[in-house]
Each structure stands twice: as C-alpha cells, then as structure tokens.
Amino acid sequence: MIALLKRDLALSVRAGGGFGLALAFFLIVVTLTPFAVGPNSATLSTIAAGILWLGALLSCLLSLDRILALDYEDGALELLATAPIPMEGVASIKALAHWLTTGLPLTLAAPAFGVLLNLPPEGFLWMTISLAVGTPALSVVGTFGAALTVGLKRGGLLLSLIVLPLYVPTLIFGAEVARRGAEGMAFQTPLALLAGITLATVALLPFASAAAIRINLR
C-alpha cells in the first residue's frame, strides 16, 4: 500500500501532475474575492474565514477527477483490483494521496492567504486547525464522488454536483470553527463535530468508494 501511495504522489508531482494547480486556484479565488465584494478591509475581515474555507473546498474539487480517472483510462485500476490490497485500501490510499497533494498544501498556505483577506489575527490558528481537521474529509468524500463517476468521459461537472452537497456538513462546522476562533468565541462543539465527521468518513466511506469502483470495473 505504501508503494501505491508513493506512486500516486510521484505521479502528481511530475509535470502535468497538477500538484501546484490547487494552490494556484486557491490563490486566484482569494484574489478575486475583493474584486467581487469590494476592498473594504472590514468587509473582508468578516468574510475571510468563510472565503478561505470555500476556496479550499473548491480547490479540492478541482483535482478530484484525477484521483481515479487516469488509472481507469489506462487500465491500471483494473490491475489494482486484482492486486493483493483490498479495494477499500486502494480507495483510502487514493484519498490520502489527494489530501497530501491538495488539502495539506492548502492548509499550510491558508495563513498566507489569510493575510491577503485581512483575517483577524486571533483567527489564524483555529482557521488553520479547522482546515487541517476538515480537509481529509473533503478528500475522502471527493474520492467517493470520483469513484461514482470514474467511468464517465466528462464527468467533472456531475462530480461537482454530487460532491458539493456532501461537503455541506464539513463546510458548516469547519467554517464555524474558523469564525468563532477569529471572534474569540467557544469553538469546541463545532471542532468536535468536524473531527467526528472526518473520522467517520475516513473510516467508513472507503467501503462505499470501493463498491462504486468495483461496479464501474465490471
């Protein structure tokens, strides 16, 4: 399984692998926000936590169809199905690879982007933590969506339509933690719920993803 992880990471870092794309997209979203809502610092301050979460979420969405589609197209996915690793393991590794190359870099970059959006200073820590806790869920849920649509030629938009409603709980609690952290309010409840959702999806969703991949490989 480690071999699979290393292979996926290597593939994505290579040229054409799309590694920096998510970060670049995140930067673009952050840059476009003031154009959309006006440069007033007070406004930006209020919405910064939410925009960072939205931007991270949308950037994650971008690289989702790459998780499985490339392997599906060249037959590698079928080979993986016959490998000694269970398909659930494959799904989990794929999600992990996605997080390492998308969610994690976004989380690390978020404080820098927070500066651009005038995030209140108290907010930096908890916003980053909320992203760190929440983005794994985004990767796992995204992998499920990718598994459902892996057989489709241009499934990108459908993938977004399916995955975005599933992101709602993570987004709500994650952004809530970030907001409350910024305002100095109690954030334990949303943080616990966010962590709960992430843990549950990481543990359970790979089964559904594996089922979907097997169905598509038939």
Binding site: F144, L148, T149, G151, L152, G155, L158, L161, I162, L164, P165, L166, V168, P169, I172, F173, E176, T189, P190, L193, I197, L205, A208, A211, A212, I215, N216, R218
Partner: protein
C-alpha cells in the same frame, strides 16, 4: 398474454416485472380516482371554506399546499432509500426503477415546498428567502435530487446506473441527516417559536401553538391527496421504466441475433 398469474405467496413476488405491471395496472385507476377526490375535497375545503388566521390572514391557506408538498419531498427520498436498499440486497429491478421514477416527483415537490414557503414567508417574515435551517435543508435536498437524477442520466448501462445511483442514495441519505443537524447548528432560524408552524403544531403534540381543528381536517385530506398523487405518479412512471427496460432488452437481443 391473458393467462391468470397464480396468486402470489409473498409480497416479494410483486417485484417480478410482469406481476408488477399486472398489479400496478389494476391499481392505477383506483389510485387516480382516489387521489383526484381527496385532493379536490381537501384543497377546495381548505381554500374556500376555512376562515383566515387572525395573525396570518388568508396566507394560512398556503398551508394546504406547503405542508403536504414538504412532507412528500422528504418521504420521496425515504422511499428512494428503501428502494435502493432493496435493489442492492434483493436485486429486484423493479425496485431500482421505482427509485428512478420517484426522483423527479420528489424534486418537483421540493421545488413546490420551496416556492410556496418563500411566497408565504414574504408577507410573514418580510423576506423572500432566509437562510433558516428548514428552508436551507430543502434547498440542499433539492441538490441531492439533482445529483441523483443526473447520475442516472449520465450512465449508459442500466444495471451500472442502478447500482451507482443506489450507492449514492444511501451515502447521500447519511449526509442529508448530517446536514440537517449541521444546519440547525449553523442557524437557529425563523421556523421556530411563534412564527410559523412546526410539525408539533400540526399534530397537536405542541401545546403552545396547535393547528385548530378547523384547519386540521382539510390539511389531513390534502396530505392524503398529495400522498396519493405521489403514489399515482410512481405507478405511472415505474411502468414506463419497466417498459423502457424491456425495449432496451429486446433491442439488445435483436442486435445479437
């Protein structure tokens, strides 16, 4: 084909397409008549023969379409969930097709609930839309319906589509429940308190604000009528799906012959 089918020994035998077509064909006219009757009586009674609410004026009449449509919007998804489970576990094609048939009905009901809710909300809350958790969860539900229907349409192979959409329905249901709690956490909302009705108010378990009897009976009739409408459409649409599937099977056989 006029041979009498032997009496079914269990409910599961209705999952057989031929038996399903026979049974649903038999039921159809009764459901149609029953639906038209209850809907007509319920709505006409509610619209023409009930008084205005002292606080909400004549807008209270929207209750006869808003509450039933919201109820069906949710129950349609539940039915799809059960049908999806039956497909995955017992492999009855009719079940998968019934879920597919139900989705547009549920989506339409969700739209009706949203529209009537917004129209009712305007004079009551002073705004067309508010990110109240109940309204928002219906919006999210609508998105779930869209994703489900889109997945069915996108996949060519019937059986693959049935499998994948059922998995989506099940996972989606879990997230729908999660979202509901998340939304209530996110915003306490306007639906609460003395503003508009809650489920408790309708059934009378909530003593603070109870729907008085004068509204209750036409509301019950409307709800039954809407439910009948849902069943009617499921029957019609599933029959269409069963036929469509048979057409594709025959065409496939032709191509191979």
């Amino acid at each position: 084909m006029s041979e009498r089918l032997p009496k079914p020994k269990s409910l599961w035998e209705y999952a057989n397409p031929r038996r399903f077509m026979a049974f649903s064909g038999f039921l159809l006219p009764f459901v149609a008549v029953g639906t038209v009757a209850t809907l007509a009586i319920g709505l006409i009674w509610g619209f023409f023969f009930t008084p205005d609410d002292y606080r909400q004026g004549s807008t209270v009449k929207i209750i006869y379409i808003h509450v039933p449509s919201a109820m069906i919007a949710i129950n349609a998804w539940l039915m799809m969930l059960v049908a999806s489970l039956i497909w995955l576990i017992r492999r009855h094609h009719v079940s998968a097709l019934a879920a597919k048939a139900a989705a547009p009905v549920g989506a339409a009901m969700t739209l009706i609930a949203l529209a009537t809710g917004a129209i009712w909300g305007q004079p009551m809350w002073g705004t067309w839309w508010a990110w109240d958790p109940r309204l928002t969860s219906f919006l999210v539900l609508f998105l779930f319906y869209l994703g489900y229907m889109a997945l069915w349409t996108a996949i060519e192979n019937d059986d693959t589509a049935a499998e994948l959409t059922s998995v989506l329905c099940i996972v989606g249901s879990v997230f729908a429940v999660l979202s509901r709690y998340a939304l209530h956490f996110w915003n306490q909302g306007l639906h609460q308190g003395s503003s508009v009705l809650r489920a408790g108010a309708v059934t009378g378990t909530d003593t603070e604000e109870k729907v008085s009897n004068v509204f209750f009976y036409p509301l019950m009739l409307s709800m039954i009528g809407f439910a009948g409408f849902f069943v009617l459409l499921i029957l019609i649409r599933t029959r269409t799906e069963v036929r469509a599937r048979r057409i594709r099977a025959l065409q496939a056989r032709e191509r191979m012959a």
